[in-house]
Structures are given as C-alpha cells and as structure tokens.
Symmetry: C2
Subunit: 876 residues, 2 copies
Amino acid sequence: MAVKYVYTFSEGNGKLKELLGGKGANLAEMTNLGMPVPKGFTITTEACTRYYDDGETIAPEIEEDIYKFLADLEARTGKKFGDKVNPLLVSVRSGARASMPGMMDTILNLGINAEVAELLAKKSGNPRWAYDCYRRFIQMYSDVVMEVGKKHFEELIDAMKEKRGVSQDVDLTADDLKELAGQFKAEYKLATGAEFPSEPREQLIGAVRAVFRSWNNDRAKVYRRQNDIPASWGTAVNVQEMVFGNLGNTSGTGVAFTRNPATGEKVLFGEFLMNAQGEDVVAGIRTPQSIEQLAQVIPEAYAEFVTICDKLEKHYRDMQDMEFTIEDRKLFMLQTRNGKRTAAAALKIAFDLLDDGIINEQEAVLMIDAKSLDHLLHPQFDASALARAAAIGTGLAASPGAASGQAVFTAEDAKKWADSGKKVVLVRLETSPEDIEGMAAAEGILTVRGGMTSHAAVVARGMGACCVAGCGEIKMNEKAKTFTLGGKTYKEGDVISIDGNTGCIYDGAIPTVPAAITGNFERLLALSDKYRRLSVRTNADTPKDAKQARKFGAQGIGLCRTEHMFFDADRIPAIREMICADTKEAREKALAKLEPMQQSDFEGIYEAMEGLPVTIRFLDPPLHEFLPKEDAEIALLAKDLGKSVEAVREIIESLHEQNPMMGHRGCRLAVTYPEIAEMQTRAVIKAALAVQKKHPDWSVVPEIMIPLIGELKEFKFVKNYVVATADKLIAEAGSDLHYKVGTMMEIPRACLTADAIAAEAEFFSFGTNDLTQMTFGFSRDDAGKFLDYYYKTQIYESDPFARLDTTGVGKLVEMGVSLGRGVRPDLKIGICGEHGGDPSSVEFCDKTGLDYVSCSPFRVPIARLAAAQSQLKLKK
Amino acid sequence: MAVKYVYTFSEGNGKLKELLGGKGANLAEMTNLGMPVPKGFTITTEACTRYYDDGETIAPEIEEDIYKFLADLEARTGKKFGDKVNPLLVSVRSGARASMPGMMDTILNLGINAEVAELLAKKSGNPRWAYDCYRRFIQMYSDVVMEVGKKHFEELIDAMKEKRGVSQDVDLTADDLKELAGQFKAEYKLATGAEFPSEPREQLIGAVRAVFRSWNNDRAKVYRRQNDIPASWGTAVNVQEMVFGNLGNTSGTGVAFTRNPATGEKVLFGEFLMNAQGEDVVAGIRTPQSIEQLAQVIPEAYAEFVTICDKLEKHYRDMQDMEFTIEDRKLFMLQTRNGKRTAAAALKIAFDLLDDGIINEQEAVLMIDAKSLDHLLHPQFDASALARAAAIGTGLAASPGAASGQAVFTAEDAKKWADSGKKVVLVRLETSPEDIEGMAAAEGILTVRGGMTSHAAVVARGMGACCVAGCGEIKMNEKAKTFTLGGKTYKEGDVISIDGNTGCIYDGAIPTVPAAITGNFERLLALSDKYRRLSVRTNADTPKDAKQARKFGAQGIGLCRTEHMFFDADRIPAIREMICADTKEAREKALAKLEPMQQSDFEGIYEAMEGLPVTIRFLDPPLHEFLPKEDAEIALLAKDLGKSVEAVREIIESLHEQNPMMGHRGCRLAVTYPEIAEMQTRAVIKAALAVQKKHPDWSVVPEIMIPLIGELKEFKFVKNYVVATADKLIAEAGSDLHYKVGTMMEIPRACLTADAIAAEAEFFSFGTNDLTQMTFGFSRDDAGKFLDYYYKTQIYESDPFARLDTTGVGKLVEMGVSLGRGVRPDLKIGICGEHGGDPSSVEFCDKTGLDYVSCSPFRVPIARLAAAQSQLKLKK
C-alpha cells in the first residue's frame, strides 16, 4: 500500500500528532469540533523524514499528492491558484510533533503574483490590502525559501515610510506598497539572479521544501537539544486557505492563553492588533491591545472567542495557547496548543484543573515538567530589572539561581572578601576541589572552561549555588586578576551578575527576589510520593547538605564523598603528611590524625539523617589533587614536614599523571595503601556505634562503598580489610551493628563482570559520570572542545553527562543489573551520578529496576516527581 | 564421596598432572614403567587449594589421609618413622602442574632426629653420612618451614671448615657435622624460641604446610605472571623414601638432559657429583663432573641411566630433564620432565623428533613456545661475555635484543651522534612521539618510566629495537644530562649496555652476536601456515617496516598509523601550520602541503605490499602532541607562522587537556576538521590510483580506518566526507578502484552498539590497547604506579596490556563480533592492538572468529605460529 503523505484537516484528529505535527493535529481536532477553521490540509512528518532520506529532495509521488490535495482544496473553497476570477491564497506553516515556537518557518499569502494582486485589488475594492498581501508574500518567501533580503527589505520599508513622512506600516498607501513590491522583486533578482516566481504551484513546492529544510536550521537544532526532541521526528507542513486580518479596521489578528502563563491565574491572557497579519502582533510594529479590549472593538467575535477558549480548555484539559484572525468581523481559529508556562504557573494550573475535577491526580502529576521545578528552588533576578539589562556574554546555565557580586579571581579571595561581608562572584578558568570553600562563600561561580558536569557545575548544583560555566568568550588574565568580556575589561572588585537559569552574564548588579515556594509545590511532591516506586536519596558530604536534602524529601544518602572533608584548612595538613609519608608507619601516624575528624563528620551526618541509610564512598581522587601547586605553599609544606623543598617537589612530580582520570585513584589507593581504607572503616564504624548508642531507636546501618572497582578480586581485597577492621570494632563494643560493603559501578569492566562482583558486593551504585566517560572514551573536562561540533552535526543530540545515554551506557547498566541480580536476587541497586537528578535518566533507572536514585539536594524534588511520572507512564 | 587427597605413585600416571603436579605424575609414570623410583606418595594440588580455601590450614581429614599413606609407605618399605631399628627418612618436594624450577621448596632427610642419627651412624657404620643427613635436614627445615637461619647456617659451616682447616664440605668429619647439627639447633631455638622438632610426624606436616605456603612466595608469583600460570592451580607435594647420594664414594647425585638444551643437539647433557645430596650439584660447592664421566666412575649405573634416558624420551616423545641419585652403585630416578630449552634448541629438537618419526607435524608445531621465537629475531649479547658482567640495574624487558652504546639524553642528540657514526643508547625519563627519529637512530632505548606498552616499548618493538623500560631505580637529571644507577653516575657519552631479553643494564660495552635464524625456523613457519585459519597482518607505518614484515610473512598491513609520518622534520612545520590555522582556508592551505607527502608515503607502502591489503588509520593523536614544548622551538614556530610568541603560546595552552587519552583525538579531529579527513582520503586514493595504474596485475584495495568511533552517526559523518572525496577522484580518473571504509573498535560504546555501526562500517579492527584502557578505566601511561601492587596481591596475574583480558575486554570483543556479524554476516574483523602478537590473545582471536590479527613486524612469526597452535588445540 502506498504511504499516505497528505491529510485534509477533516481526515485528521488531535491524537495524530506524530504524523500531522501538533499544529496539524489540533487544526484537524478544531475542525472536527465544528470550530471556525480555514480549510486546508497537512503534509505529514513522514514526508519530511522521506525528504531527508532522499537527500533533501521532495519525491515525485509526494509532489503529486500535494497537488491532488491542492485540487481538492480548490474544489472545497471554490477558489483556484492563479485564477482570473477567484484566486486562492494559502498559508504554509510548519508544525512539529512537539511545539517549537518560533523555531521554524511560515509563509503567508502564497499564490499571489502581480496579476492576482491587481485582480484582488479590483475585486475587493481594497487595493491597499491586496498590495500589502503581495509585498508581505515576497518578503517572507524571499527570506524563508531563498534566504535573501530580510534585513534589506526592512530598510526599503523604512525608506518608503521616511519618503512618505509616516511612521506606521498601516499609513502606507496601496501605491506605496505596490512600489515596495516592485523594489522587493528587483532585490530578489539581484540576490538570486532569477525572477521572483510568479507561478503559485512553484511557490507552493518551494515553500514546502523550505519548511522541511527549516527543521535543521541552527536555532531548531539548539532548541531540540535543550528540549530533548529527536532529530528523527521531522516537521509536518500545514497548507491552509488564507483568512485576512489586514482587510481593514474590522479585521485583525491576535494570540491568547486561556490562563496567565506566568502565574497560572484563571483569566484570559492575550493581545491583538487590528488591520494586521501574522507576526505583526509579536513583532512590535504597533503596540497591540490586550485581549479584553476586543470586547469593545468586535464584541461578537470576542464572545465567540471566549466560548471557544472555554470549550478548547475543557476539551484538551489543559491551558491553551491560541492564534486567531478576524476577517471582516468573522473569527477564525488558526492554532491551539497546550501553552508554555512557568513552573509556578504549571503547578497552579494543574491543581486548579484537579480541584475543578477536570483532570485526575495522575494527570496532574504528569502535567508538570520535572526539570522546571529547579526554577522554584533558587532565588531569581527580578524580571523587570532583567528586562532592562543587556547580557555581556553567555555561558552554560550550569546551576540555576541568580547572583550579583564583586568579581574575585581566587577561592581564597572569595573566602576573604565574603568573610569581610562582601558579596562576590568567583570567576575562574575552571575550579578544582581546593576551591570548595571559596565556592561556598561566593554568591555565584563563573568559569571559562568546563561543561554541564564540570567540577564547578557539579559542586555548584550540589551546593544549590548559582553557576555559569564554560563561557569561552571570556579572555582571562589570572595573574592580573582581570577578564575581558563584551569588549570591557573587568578588574577584581567590579560588580557583575550571572543568571544560572539562562547562562547570561551582566555588567553591574541586578536585584534578586527570593524563590517562591507555594503550597502547590508541597502538594505536588506528596502526590509524587504516592505514585512512585523508586526511592530518592541524595548526594551529600556534610550535615548541612544532608539536612537541606531531607527538607527536600531525601530518603537517605546515596553518596557521601569522604574526600571533600579533607580539603578543609584544618585537615589538609594531615592528608598532605599522609601522602608525603615515606613509610607505612609514617602514613598511619598521619591517618591517625584524620581519623577523629572523619569520625566526627560521620557522626554529624548520621545525626542529620536520623537512622536513614547513608552510603559512604571511600577516598576516590588521585592524591596529587591534595598537594599544593604554588611555590609558597610548597615551601610551607616542606617546612611542616621537615623535608627539603626539593624532596616535596619530587613527591609532587612523582605523583604527576598523564591522565589522572584513569590513574591512581579510587580503590587503587586502597590496594596500594590499605591503611587508608582501615582508617576510613574505623571512622565510619566508630561513628555509627556512637550514634546508634545515643539513639537506640534509630537503625544505623552504614553502607561502605568502594569506588572504581573493575574486578572481583580487587573488591575482595579491599573488603577483607574493611570487614576485619569493622568486625573487630563491633565485637569490642559488644554491639550488633550491621553494615554493608558494596561497590560503585563506574568502570565498564565492573558491569561486564557484575555476576562475579555481586558474589561479594552487598550493593551496587552506578557512578554514571565515570561510566559515561569510560564508555564514550572522553573526559568530561576535555569533551567541551569538541562536543559543540557533535551537537551542531547532530551526532549527539544531548549531553551524555547530563542525560544518560541509554543506548551505550544504559546497556552496561542493564548488564550490571541483570548479571548482578542473577547471582544475588535481592541486590540493592542505585545510581549516584549526576544523572540521578535528570528526569529522563530517572525514568530509565525506574524501568531498569533500580531501587533508588541519588542526586544533589536541590534535585531531590525533581527526582521524586520524575520517578512518579515514570511509573504513571509505565502503567499507561 | 570423600575427596581423595593422596595417591601412591602406583595409583597415579603421567596424565594426572593437574591433580598430582608434573613431578608427581611423572614419578607415577616412571614407577608404572618399572623404572627404579624410590617409593612414595603424592598429596594433590586439590589439597593445596583446600589449604588456601581453609585460611592456610591443613584440614584434619587431609592430615588423616597423609598419615594413612605414610603408614602404607612404612609397610611397603619395612621402615618406620622414628623406628629404633629401621627408621624411615623421606624427601618432601613440591611439584606444580607446570614446571616452575627453583620456585618452591624441597626438604630432604625428613624423619631424622638425634636418636635416629645415632642409630643410622651405628647401623650403617657411616657416621659421617648419618650426621651429614642430620645437619642438612635441620638446615633445610629451618629455612623452608620456619624461614630462619639460612645465611647464618652457611656461616657456621664456613667457620667449622676454617677451624678444621679444610675447604670442602666432604672433608668435614662425622663429629664436625654432629657439632654443626648442635649449633644449628641452638640457632633455631634462638630464632624461634622453640626446640627444633624431633617428632617425625610433626616434621612431616610442617614440611607439607611449608610447601603449600611456598606456592605464594614472591618469586613464585613473579614466575607465574611471566609464564601465564594461574594462582588457582596450586602445587602438589611428593613424599618419597630417601635414597642417599651422600653415602660415600660409590654414591652420588646428578641432573641431565636427553639433548643439549642450548642447541638441541642429540647428545646426553648433564652433570653429577659423587658423595653429594640434593642441590649440591647446582649449588657449586664442588665442581661437578660431566655426565659422560659417569661411565668411568660407575659404569653399570651409567649404562642403566642411558637406557632409561632413551626409554623416557621415546615414551614422552620430547627431550627430558632428569634428576637421579646413585646409592651405593644403584641408580634411582627422582624426576623427569620435558626440559626447558632455548628457542633454537626447541626448533632443532622438534624437527629432529619429527624427522625421526617420533612425533607428527601437528605435535611439532605445538611443541614450540610461540613467545620464544622473539629471541631468534634480534641480535644477542655474547653469552660468555655476559656471564662475566654484573648488571647495575634492571628494568622491564620491553623489547628483545641487545645494545651497547654511549648514553645520550635527548632524541636530537641520539640522531646527531648516530649521524656522526657513534653508537648510542637513548636514555629518557619516558619517550614521546617527537622522539621517533632519535629512537630509530639509537642502538637501544632505556627509560625510567613506563610499562610494557609504554610509548618506548611499543615503538621499540615495532622497530625491532632493543628496549629496557621503566627502570625506576635510575635517578635522572635531564638538565645535567646524567643519571645515577648502581651507585655510579653516568654522563653523556659514557658507554652502557642493555639487554632487552632480560631487562638488565650493564656498565660498559658487551659484544653482541647476530641473530641466528636456522632453516628450522622457516620450516616451522611453513608448517604453521599449513595449519592456521587466521590471517596475520602487520602494523607498519613505513615502506621499510612493511618490507621487513613481508619477509616475516605478513599477509597485509592491519594498521598503518598516518601520524607517525607527520613527525618527520620536513613535515612537522606543515602540520604545525595546520594546527595553528585560524580559518578553514588557512588549514586547507597547510593540509595541501602535507597531501603530496602523504600520497608518496602511501605509494611507497602499496609498492612494498605488492597488492596485499593495506589498512590506513586516519589521524589519531591529540593535536598538541605535534606542537613544540621548548621556548626556543616555540619562538621558531612563531616566526615561521608570522605570529607572536604569545599567540602561539595561547594556541598551545588552548589545546592543553586534562586527560589527553580521553580528549580531542581520533575521529573527533575529523568531526571538527573534516578537511583533515578529506586530505587524507585524497592522499590514500591518489596513491592507490597511481600504484594500481603502474601495476595493473595487482589488486590495490585501500582500507580506510576511522579511529575512536563510539557512535554510528559519528562514523557516518566522517564516512560521508571520505566517500564523497574518494568517489570524485576515482570517477575523475576513470578508474574502477575499490576501497573500504571501516572502523577501529576501541571505545566500549562501539562494541556495545556494534550492530548499528556494522550497518555502515565495511570492516572492524579491534584496537585493544585503547579498549583495554577504557574497559579497565586506567591509562597505560599511569597504571605502572599501581599495577605492581596488583600483581603482588594477585588481583591481576598478568598485564592486561600485554595479554588480552578475555573476561572483560574479551566480552566486549565478543559482543562486537556477534552484533556486527548479526547485521553484516561477511564483516571482515581483525585486531590491531599490541595483543595481536601475544600467543594467548591470538588464540582468543581465533576462537572468537576474527579474520586476522595484526602485530608489529617482529611479532609476525609469533602470530603465525600461535594461530596454528590455536587451531590445532581447537581440533584436539
């Protein structure tokens, strides 16, 4: 059977979005509901896919189909393309499966040419309208189909207005517009070397081709990546009889929402413009009127519109975003779709609809974009102040929130300035673990290098701090403590602002408003908990983070990184002493200094978690990360250790690695220095014993997690030390404390041999950051240099460090789960990479049968919602 | 059924090596053949495994079994442990499945104590013998079981000899020996705090325990790793009635081979010592006599021995290595095993046996250790000169061969000195691609850092150059151009020698002899070709390497690394210009300079290969590898490019990567700069067209290999550029040249998604170096720091970069093969990592169904033999 590439509106319906695109499906649905929709047909998304499969050409059979449906449209409207009596004009609009506002192209008034324009001028007695249509068509067609003239056409219009001494387009006469049309055609010929096409059928195929092509324009690609829309979907094309909002003062065009998209308030919200067409309303040519005023201007159209709004919202059971045109007092609906909204509005709308009995709980939960909850958790820039500010540059929106402060260039300065009461933004080439204190002290962090999972981004999200990362436009001079951006050089102390929601950077201060968490937020999360299967834990290294996460609903700690504790100023000397030790004894002496500090950290965390599970990962980073880099610091360390500067330098040099990510770290540290694992075990177990004793009603069960395991024997080797140490302490205390020893699954080989490892490991936690690095073979620190090219060429459509790659990395996770559970059916399995807070990744974890996800505190609410949505989708 | 842990010799046979160990099985076999073997029994390897499973204790049931078989032995010999009339003495010897000479422990004369010694002295009328046995037992038992006194005991013997004014042990009297026994026991008590055990049963269990324990001593572990023997095998223990070579001048002990193990010549080869026991022959206490002389000393024993030798060799159908003892003119056989031999001897023996009709072709092929062929391909140090030299240090035997020369410290110096006719050894902390020319010019390469697959090792093996890598003992002062080793500081120009077969480093020059390739070598390879299924290709980057490899039998090039060509002095300026280009146009201009050079390289390679397949890998390393590091060079480059030094520094800085191994390299370069792939395609295709035209009878089919692919779309993106460029050139030339575009499988994700990739890739070549790095998550440059610990703790038993990890990496290879062939059944699949020349890895590749392996030229013969052995094993 031949594929059907074209559908009339009455053949389609609202469920056929995949085939007809959102716009086409909804035009069909409105047609079927008996609403006033201009007649037309939709060329399917399959035709678009075919277009790309055929090397960007429209197959003859599709062209034939289009002409067949055009003939049908001509029959139904009683008009004909290029007809001498009753010529047909149409609009050609893109419409993808998911709404992508403004991303692709539209052409109005197609079918017009010099003869048709003259005929329409005569026939209508409204030559101004006829030539307005004509010049608009030439403008849009040239821009969209041939990519010429847009800017120059605007200049020609401005020149004409100046010549005529008028300021508004509507004040130009028919003759002016006719003259402009002539100028446009000349311009077109100059740019393309060809005559402007006057044959309507040729115009139509050109326009369809242009819409298909626009699916792959740069802004569409970026939008798709930001919104997880696959390139394979393609766009549909809607061809529709024109209705005219530019026929005069009884005509107009407008857009409206059934509710306020910023607040969710249930009130009609929109704008319209009389004697206008298409984009005029949003283009700001004239100031539009607010939608209520339509009641005065064309009362009968307003009344009908209000009725339709109500009907559409009830029909779609969601807030609608609509386009309409009034042609000589008669209302036509050109589009309806579920409207975009802020997170706060989304919550209000969902619960209003739920409370009105229009949707049920499950639908309310599914209605909220989980990612958008992030915006509710951080302070924001004041919207009106933001509207008046111009960004001086843009980086990655790495961690949401808003920050204004004085630029400082080192973590120490950040700490020092903040301690003296100043607000600072820490500007760095990139951050490292040593910068932690300074990062915590700063209002926000701005980095030149690094991606969405760079150290700065990960730590900032963990802290709930605002961060803009990887702003490559910045020219940094670290020595001089200055940077140049947007043509201006900023010195230490100069005030800048950064927006973690958009990645924008501003000169000077912008006032912020605190995050508004309404009751609906709590209500949503309670509903989510009702429907989800997955547990949600948090990644937290301090009692403060742990408490924050519990407020957000964390059910335990899935990842407590012990090394972060080592960077504190009072601890780093001991860890450095340990690293520089020449003998096991010297190393143990230094470790003995760290032990009580670690123990007290863990006690604090157990206290904060009140008996909920806590997974503690043993020392992970390469040791050189703890050593100083600056001459002065090295000299100081040498003095502390009673060694020569040269000896300390030799140690630092000997720890240098070509590829530290793949070096001497993780469990490899415990294999070479088992005394580190012994010390950490003592700290964990002694803390647990102490807290359990203090709170006999809690159930303190430490989960010790060995990182970077790639082989069973490696795990067993470290586990033996842990168990020997722990069992001795527990026996000495006369306690029956339970504890678990498990592994981080972050090395491909661990997943490939998970059956062997599960024989010894009591739990698995997928560390998908490292697992993604190893599976793809690129480091997150370095991938920034080429990933942009990968997005541009659509080799990758999303950042694998932000959204779990279910095809490759996911396959290893699935192998790990099935091999592991094959040996140990009750194996507890979680994920503690950055992906634990990403909704699509949470959905994958849910489907794959994981027990929990663990994410940074500020992502816990997102994970709770995403987990519920995953279950609801599975059950659908 | 209870496990049988002990076997008498007559219960066993030569096939039970896994259970009884080599020694035990062969003692059983000789017993069954009716040869004179002292009576005894074997405790199985399973008992050893059980010993370790039980936490290094001997289970009561095993102890019981031992006592049961001891009682049986007592009954059969008519002697008893500790008996007042006829006391039993036994030897306790280790015996693993594979022969591990000198690695584990032996105890003789067990069962003796003061009373027994006195009884034996009286009964035999030979008190000197009795007390010699006694003191020997105390010595061995103390050393082996309690690990005390070895050195001190020797000192006590020396003191006694001095006191008595004699120089030889045999000149000590019975009283002297009795006195020594007393001194030994006192020493034992001092060291252990306990009396020396006099109870024979206690002695026996202690000795068995000591043998089990010796399975895991350090030298055994190292030997196992070098010889691919798994730790899980364990050792058996042989308990055997003593026969005495130290009874006087009609007794003696000796060792012999049925053929010369150095040359393979068919002549009895060995030594003996009269009035001696155990290790005396090899310990060098007295100078032993050569085996023929035994015909004069004890003619009847010699005659019997010659008969037995002949019988054993015919029975085992291999050269035998035997131990014997003569007790009062009567011959006893204590051991036989297939003898170790040099590679040259192995070849001669195999073909002599084949020609004598004792073995068949298949057996001859299986008889040769494939790895050992390496030794036949490189010049060697003169053995007698080597015997007189003492090593000043040891590194890794990274690439075989022998080199003497003046030490130089930079690649440039190596080149310069060599050009002026000097022989040099290049000494570096580590080498990098820039050093290639200097490495090629040097006699040998010595590095301080890096493992068996470090840059130095890989490149040296590729070149067939001698290399000792990773000699951490060296203290290097690069600036001063000196290094210190073995207590001496070597300056530039000082002569040193390095042995790539042993890793030893010597002061001064040692003369070399050229490699001896006899006719047997060719004969073996011809036989191998008859029985193998796998093709063998080579990794070669130059016509010279290609020709060398063809001489060794390479059937094509499996990996031609194009980047090595870029490091030539006349090319590096163009590649640097390309890297520093600001625009695509500037980049293309620089590439245009490289194109004719690359084309002529490829022409040379096609010519050398005469129509055999050639796989060319496109540019792989990160670009910063091509940029200079030294100030002077940077200044020069800036001048060449007409840029400021600062600008060039900025470019170098901008290319810096945290983890270059996981950075902007491989196909990622082609994705960001497709013009590089286009240039390389033009060079490949134009060269192929030219050579095909010149040699119409050849079939030139270039195989273009895209490195570091992790995703189908990435491959397709690069392939599109390749195909467009190639097809245009071929069409323009009016040729029907065929070419293939395939991918290197070296990223885990490529293996996981091999079905998708195989839809586009026309061949796969597993790059197991990188695949091993990514699968294990460690870089071969950095792993040296901790892999030693991993070997010591037996977490890993072999270097995964030298021997393919079939469990983890192998699983990915298998997935790649089965997913790939599932989509494209005729998919050509090879391997081009270092593993392509490792026999056990070749066997894995054969089993997994690969079409070919590719390895460095000097490993081609090894791969040919290994491939044949794999097929013969599969068919067995």
